[in-house]
Assembly symmetry: C2
Homo-oligomer: 214 residues x 2
C-alpha cells in the first residue's frame, strides 16, 4: 500500500467505540472524570473545605437520582442500538470510570488506541495498576473480536507483565483476533509505551452472549 | 475453633485496607462515586439539564485543581506511611474509581471482602465486566501477599471465567498466598456470588518493588 493510500485509509479508520460528544451527558461525565482526578491529586489536608465539596456532590447526586429512570428501564435502554458502546468502563463516554480509551479498526484486522492515564489508575508508584492493564486489555480483545470476526464472552485471560507501565505518558493499546475454532475464539493484545511492550494478553472467548434486557 | 472463638476472632480481623472515614476527602470521594453512578443510571435524554451539571462539575474540578499540590509532591505524600492504602482503584477511599472493596485478613492467611457493584462496573448486560473482575482479583492477590508473606509486583495472571458475575448482588472476593520460591510468589483467588464461584485467578508475583517517590 502506498503512503498516500495508507494515509487515506487511516483517515477513515472506523471508530469502533462510541463517539465522544462535547455536550449532554458526555460533557457531564467528562467533567466528573476531572473531579475524580482532581480529588486524588488534591488529597486530604490541602486547605480545601472537603465538607463543602461533599455537600455539593451529594446534592448533585440526589438531583440526578430523582430524575433517573428505574434501573430495569435504564438497562433496557442502554443495550439498544448504539447505546451498547456508550456505557462500558473502558471506552464509554457515559462512564466516568473509563479513561476513556478510543479504539480504531485497522486494515489488518487489529484494533488500536492511545491513552494517557492519571492518578486514578495508579498501582505501583507512578505506574499503572496491573489490574487496570487487565481491564483495558480484556475490553480491547472484546472489541478486536467484534472487528475481526465472531465475538463472545471472556472464558480465560493470561496476562504477562514485562515491565512497569507508566502513568502520564501515551500508551498504545492494541488487540487482534488470531483464531476461531467452533465457538472458541482466541485473541491477543498488548500495551506498549514509547515503543516498548509493557503487558501482553492472550484471551480465550466463547461465542455466546447474555440476552439483552428488554 | 469454637463458634464463640471464631466470632471473637472475626470481630478483630485486621482491616488490610485503609479505613473509610465519613469526613474530609473520603466523604467527598464517596459523594463523587454517587455522582458517577447517578450519571450512568440517568443517561442522556431524561430531562436533566446536563449542560448545568457539566458546568457545576467543571467549576468544582477547577477549584480543586487550583489548590492541588504539584503532582510530584502529591505522589511523594501519597506513598508515605498509611497513605499507601488510600489511593488505589480497588480499595482506596480517596479514589472514586474504587467500589471500594474492603478486605480483611483471616486466621488461615487468606484475605476476603464483600462488595456489591452497580452500573459503572458493567460488561455483559446486567453483569460485571470481565476486566473489572481481573482488576479486583489482581489487587486482592497483592493484599493477600502482604498479609501472608512477602509481596511483590504482578508478573503473570491467569483468569478463568466460569459463569457470569452479577451486578447488584453481594460478591465475595478472596485471595491467599500459596507458595514462595526465592523471589517467585504464587497466589490464588476467586470471586463468588451466592456461594458459587464465578471467576478464579492464579497469579505469579516477583518480590521486588518500585522505589517510592520522594
Amino acid at each position: 500500500m502506498s503512503a498516500a493510500c495508507r494515509e487515506a485509509t487511516d483517515a477513515v479508520a472506523p471508530r469502533l467505540v462510541a463517539e465522544q460528544r462535547k455536550d449532554g451527558v458526555d460533557a457531564a461525565v467528562a467533567a466528573a472524570r476531572r473531579v475524580v482526578t482532581a480529588l486524588l491529586r488534591t488529597g486530604g489536608g490541602t486547605g480545601t473545605d472537603m465538607d463543602v465539596v461533599a455537600a455539593e456532590l451529594n446534592a448533585l447526586a440526589d438531583r440526578l437520582t430523582e430524575t433517573a429512570p428505574p434501573v430495569g428501564e435504564r438497562l433496557a435502554a442502554m443495550w439498544r442500538g448504539q447505546g451498547v458502546t456508550r456505557h462500558d468502563p473502558v471506552t464509554g463516554p457515559e462512564n466516568a470510570l473509563a479513561p476513556p480509551l478510543h479504539l480504531d479498526g485497522k486494515d489488518d484486522g487489529s484494533v488500536e488506541g492511545v491513552v494517557t492515564l492519571d492518578l486514578p489508575y495508579q498501582g505501583p508508584p507512578g505506574h499503572v495498576h496491573g489490574g487496570i492493564s487487565a481491564l483495558l486489555l480484556d475490553h480491547t480483545l472484546g472489541v478486536a473480536n467484534h472487528w475481526g470476526g465472531p465475538s463472545g464472552m471472556t472464558a480465560e485471560l493470561t496476562l504477562r507483565y514485562l515491565r512497569p507501565t507508566p502513568l502520564f505518558e501515551p500508551l498504545t493499546v492494541s488487540g487482534r483476533q488470531v483464531s476461531v475454532d467452533g465457538s472458541r475464539i482466541r485473541a491477543v493484545g498488548e500495551i506498549s509505551a514509547a515503543g516498548r511492550t509493557c503487558v501482553t494478553v492472550e484471551g480465550l472467548f466463547i461465542n455466546k452472549h447474555l440476552p439483552r434486557p428488554s
